[in-house]
Amino acid sequence: MLNSNKKNNSESGLNHWLYQKVTAVLLIPITIWVLLKLPKFIQLSFSDKLSWINSSLNLYLIALFFIISAFHFKLGLTVIIEDYIHNSIVKKYLIITISIIALLIASLSLGLCVYKNLGG
């Protein structure tokens, strides 16, 4: 029993590390694009922002940034919560909360791309 727990722990630890690294590498090119585009985007007016996001390329790339970021921050914040929150119930609910937020951001981003493709 103890042995199988130990095995699961080390396996999930390895997966966690691997996903963290894979999302980090994927974020390198997409972050460069975000850093080049987003500061200017923020300064646009509502209608200019709307036409910016109506470009398929912009929408897909920003959605991709949100999806990969969501996985990356879910993994990162889980480690931070595990290290600094010592109350196991608070810990559990914080990790669930961050997982739900990450899942919402990823699925809504994907949803926006599908919506766009349907001609919305």
């Binding site: 590498v25 974020l27 972050t31 810990k91 559990k92 926006l112």
Partner: protein
């Protein structure tokens, strides 16, 4: 959850502050800050699809002084986390573990992050 046997990261209050430990905790702080920032930017973009009324609420915050400071810190966090993240990836590949190199790459990281942050607002 049995967490007594799981290893923890060293808590920094026990150690004398050094550039290495400061950079390590900064990676976590910038990561945490970016999470909040990314959620807000996500809602900001989502608001474009929801309607101008909802958009204006978030735009009111973003264009306020507090919002401008927040946006500046958000992009600064990304620059730092980006550069230090690459430093972490080179460690994962097995390079740069010698203490001397840890310091050298540390200073390069800080320099690159500052440079990126300046270029970001010029271009």
């Amino acid at each position: 959850m049995n967490n007594k046997k799981q290893p923890l990261s060293p808590h920094l209050t026990v150690y004398k502050p050094q550039i290495t430990s400061i950079m390590s905790i900064s990676h976590r702080i910038s990561g945490f800050f970016q999470t909040i920032g990314t959620i807000i930017i996500f809602v900001y973009i989502l608001a474009l699809f929801i309607g101008e009324g909802f958009y204006n609420y978030i735009d009111f915050f973003i264009t306020s002084l507090l919002g401008k400071i927040f946006v500046f810190l958000y992009f600064f966090s990304i620059c730092y986390h980006f550069c230090n993240g690459i430093r972490h990836l080179t460690w994962d590949l097995g390079y740069g573990f010698e203490i001397k190199n840890v310091y050298i790459t540390g200073y390069i990281t800080i320099f690159c992050a500052l440079l990126m942050n300046i270029l970001l607002w010029i271009f």
